[in-house]
Amino acid sequence: MASIDYSTEPSLTEGRPSAASIDEVIIKPLDTFPTKRWWIGISFTGTLALIWVVQLVWLSIKGVGIWGINQPVSWGFDLVNFVFWIGIGHAGTLISAILFLLRQRWRTGIARFAEAMTIFAVLCAAPFVLFHTGRWWVAAVYLLPYPSQHGIWPNFSSPLMWDVFAVSTYLTVSLVFWYLGLVPDFATLRDRTTHKIKKIAYSILSLGWRFSNKHWQHYERVYLILAGFSTPLVLSVHTIVSFDFAVSVLPGWHTTIFPPYFVAGAIFSGFAMVQNVLVVTRKLFHFEHLITMGHLEKMNKIMLATGSMVGYAYAMEFFIAWYGGNPVESFTFLNRMLGPYAWAYWTMVSCNVIFPQLFWFKKIRTSIPLMFVLGVIVNIGMWFERFVIVVTSLSRDYLPSSWQSFVPTMWDFAFFIGSIGLFFTMVLIFVRVLPSIALAEIKAVVDGAQPKHHK
C-alpha cells in the first residue's frame, strides 16, 4: 500500500472527469426510465410507508392506547423514534454547513445527498411528536400561539415546546439551504433537457439563473450566510432534544453532559445512515469516481470520532453516577447494566462504542461490505441508546410500587417500520428527480479545476 504524500493535496475525485461527463453520469438517472431494481425497491418501501399510514389512521381512531405505553412509561417508541430520526438528520447539516464553514472541500461530493436525507429524516421525525399527543388535531392547535379563549396557553418554559420551534426552524432553513444549492443545478437541467414540461418546471425552479459572475457572487454569499445560520440551528436542535430529558429530575435523564453528547450521537448515527445509503447509490449509479473511497473513509473516521465521544459520555455518566453519591442515580445505572433491559443496554454499548472501534483499522475503514455492516450496527446501537434512555429510566423511577415494564405492541413496530419505509421512499424518489451530487460544486473540486492546477 502506497503511503500518503503529505506535500500534495489529495485528489477529491478520481480519473479527472470532464465537466460534460460529470453532467452525464449525474443526470442520467433523471433522464432514464427507472430500472426494475428501482421499482422493486420502491414497492417494498412504499408498502412499509403504507403500514405507516394505516397505523396513523388506526391511531387517530383509537388513540395512543394502541401502543405499549403505560404509566410510568408514558414515552415509548414515539420518543425513541423521534430522537432517532432527528439524529439521523444531523449528519446532513454537518456535512453541508459545518464542513463548509471549515472549508472541507471533500464535502461537495456528498453534501447534496446528505442534506436531502436531513430533510427526509426530519419529515420522518416530526409526525412522532405530533401523533404522540393522542388527539393530534387538537395538539396542532395548542402548539400555535392563539388567543386564550380556552384559558390554556402553550407552556413556553417546557423544552418540548422549544422542540417544536427548533425543529420547524431547522427544517425551514435546511430546505432553503438545500434549494439554494439546487438552483444552479436546475439551470443546468433546464439547459440540457429537451422535454417540454421538464423545461418549464426547471425554468421556474432555476429562478432565472444565467451562470453569470454576479449570480455566483450572490450565491456564494448567501450560501455562506445560510451555512452560518444552519450551524447553530443544528446544534440547538439536538441540544433541545436532550433538554427534553435533561431538565427533568429523573435519574438517568438529568445529567449535564447530555447536550454535547446528544449532538455527537446524532452526528454519529447520521453519518452511519449517509454512509450506508451512499455505498449503495454510488455503486448503482456509477458514482465511484465522484464519491470515492476517500469520502467513505473520512465518513468512517468521523463515525469513529463521534462514536468515541459517545463512549466518553457513557463513561462520564457512569463515573458521576457513582461519584455523585446519589443512590437513586447509581441504582439507575446499575439497573441499566444488570436490570431487565440489560440486553438493550449491552446492545447499545457494543454497537455504539465497541464495534465502531474497528474503524481504527484502515483495512476495515476501506472495505465496503465491512463498513456497510458497521454502519447498520451503529444505527441499531443509536436506536437502542434512545430506547435505553427513555424506557429504563421511566420503567424504574423513584417509586418502586409503580414500576412497570414496557412491552411494545405491533402498532409500535408498525409506526417505526413505517417511518423507515417513508424515509427510503423519499430517498428513492429523490435520486430519480434531482441530481444526487451537486453538479456545479463537484466540478469545482475535480483535478484541473483549481487555478493552481495549471502552474
Binding site: 500518503i4 503529505y6 464553514l101 431538565v247 438529568h254 449535564t256 447536550p259 468515541s308 461519584y323
Partner: protein, 395 residues
C-alpha cells in the same frame, strides 16, 4: 519527498532580548510577591496558586492538544505556525512546579483531605476511594506523563524533520497523535475533576471535563494567536502570512468562544432548571457575596464581547483586533478560573494584590519559555511536507 522545500528561504532570527528581561522580571516580582502572600495568608496564596496552575496548564496542554489536532485531522493551514504551538507546550514542566505547593499543603485547599470530615460525612466517605491523596497524586503523575511523553516524542520528531525533511516523521506523528487524542480526553477530564471540581467535593457535573476543555482550548488558542500575530507583524516568519491565515485564527477563536458559552450555558441551564439541591448549591454559592457580579462579568467578558468583536469577517483579519481579543480572551480565563475556584475559599468576593500575583508569574513564564524555545529551535517547521501547502492556503 517533495521538491517544494528547496525553494523555501528561511533564516532564523533571534527574538528581541527585551522579552527575556520582561519574562524574568515578571517571574521575579511574582515569586517575591507570592512569598509575601504565602507568609501573610497561606490558604489564599494556595488558592491563587491553583488558579495559576490551571491557567498555565490550559495554555500548555491546550497547545499540546492543538499540535495533536493538526496531525490528527491533517490540517495544513496551521502547519506554518505549528512551532508557536509547540513552543507553548514546553510550559508544561514549569506549570507543574506550581502544583507542588498545593500538593504540599493540600489540607488548606482540598476539603476531602481532612480525614475526620470525610468520616463524618456519608457522601464523602463514599468517594474516599477516589478522593484520597495517594490516588490523587498518582492520577496527577500519570496525567502529566501522558502529556509529557507525547509532547516530547512529537516535538522531537518535528525538530528532527527540519534537518531530514523526511515524511516518515509526519507519518509517525500522525499515528501518535491519533493515539493521544482519546488519552487527552480522559486525562484533561481527570485533571479538571481532581483539581477544580473536587474543591467542592459534594458537587458533581458530568459536563465539567468538557467545560474545562472548552476553556483550555480557547485560552491556548488565544495565546497562540497572540504570538502568531505579534511575530507575524514583525516579519519573523519569513513567508507571507495572508489575511486568510489570520482569518482562520479569528474564526477559530470565535468558534471556541461560542463553544465555551454553549457548554457553560447548558451546564447552568440544566442545573438551574432541574433545581436539585445537591447540584444547585454550587451555583448558589456563586450567586451571593458579590460573586454574582463576577459571574455576570464573566458572561460579558468571556462571551459577549469576543462574540461581537470577532463576528464580522473583516474583524477576523484585523491584526489589531485579533491581538487585543487574544489577550482579552486569555485574561478572561483568569476570571473564569477565579469564579470557579475562589468561592470555595471566600464566601464573599475578595480581590487584592494577592490575586494578581499568579497572573504576573504566568505571563512571565509564558514569555520566557517562548523566548528560550525560540532561541533553540526554528520558528518555522522548515522540513514539514505540509509547509508549502500551508503557506499557499487560501480560504
Amino acid at each position: 519527498m517533495s521538491e517544494t522545500h528547496t525553494s523555501f528561504e528561511y533564516q532564523k532570527q533571534p527574538l528581541p532580548a527585551k522579552w527575556q528581561t520582561i519574562g524574568w522580571t515578571c517571574i521575579a516580582i511574582g515569586v517575591a510577591l507570592a512569598a509575601l502572600s504565602y507568609f501573610g495568608d497561606r490558604p489564599r496564596m494556595l488558592f491563587n496558586d491553583l488558579i495559576g496552575l490551571t491557567f498555565l496548564m490550559s495554555v500548555a496542554v491546550g497547545a499540546i492538544f492543538f499540535v495533536a489536532l493538526e496531525y490528527f485531522v491533517g490540517a495544513v493551514w496551521s502547519t506554518p505556525f505549528r512551532r508557536v504551538t509547540e513552543f507553548l507546550g514546553a510550559i508544561l514542566p514549569y506549570a507543574t512546579v506550581l502544583a507542588l505547593p498545593i500538593v504540599a499543603y493540600a489540607h488548606d485547599v482540598f476539603h476531602w483531605t481532612h480525614h475526620d470530615v470525610v468520616m463524618a460525612d456519608e457522601i464523602l466517605r463514599g468517594k474516599a476511594s477516589y478522593l484520597n491523596m495517594k490516588f490523587f497524586t498518582g492520577r496527577f503523575i500519570s496525567v502529566l506523563l501522558v502529556w509529557f511523553v507525547y509532547y516530547s516524542i512529537v516535538t522531537y520528531n518535528s525538530y528532527k524533520q527540519d534537518k531530514t525533511q523526511d515524511q516518515k516523521h509526519t507519518r509517525l506523528n500522525v499515528k501518535l497523535s491519533t493515539i493521544f487524542i482519546p488519552l487527552f480526553a480522559i486525562s484533561i477530564t481527570m485533571f479538571s475533576v481532581d483539581w477544580i471540581m473536587s474543591l467542592e467535593p459534594h458537587w458533581f457535573s458530568t459536563m465539567f471535563g468538557v467545560y474545562y476543555f472548552s476553556g483550555t482550548a480557547l485560552t491556548s488558542l488565544a495565546v497562540i494567536t497572540f504570538f502568531v500575530v505579534t511575530l507575524g507583524e514583525r516579519g519573523y516568519f519569513s513567508f507571507k502570512i495572508t489575511p486568510d491565515h489570520y482569518y482562520s485564527f479569528g474564526a477559530f477563536l470565535f468558534a471556541f468562544t461560542c463553544f465555551w458559552a454553549y457548554i457553560a450555558f447548558c451546564q447552568f441551564l440544566l442545573i438551574w432548571y432541574a433545581n436539585i439541591p445537591e447540584e444547585t448549591f454550587w451555583y448558589m454559592a456563586r450567586w451571593k457575596g458579590g460573586w454574582e457580579y463576577v459571574g455576570v462579568l464573566l458572561i460579558l467578558v468571556r462571551f459577549w464581547i469576543p462574540f461581537f468583536a470577532l463576528s464580522s469577517r473583516s474583524s477576523k483579519m484585523n491584526l489589531k483586533r485579533l491581538k487585543t481579543m487574544s489577550v482579552w480572551i486569555a485574561a478572561s480565563h483568569f476570571i473564569d478560573l477565579y469564579w470557579l475556584i475562589m468561592p470555595t475559599h471566600y464566601k464573599t468576593v475578595s480581590l487584592g494584590w494577592q490575586e494578581f500575583v499568579f497572573p504576573i508569574i504566568s505571563f512571565g513564564i509564558i514569555v520566557l519559555v517562548f523566548f528560550n524555545e525560540a532561541k533553540k529551535k526554528n520558528l518555522v517547521p522548515i522540513g514539514d511536507p505540509k509547509l508549502q501547502r500551508g503557506i499557499d492556503f487560501r480560504l
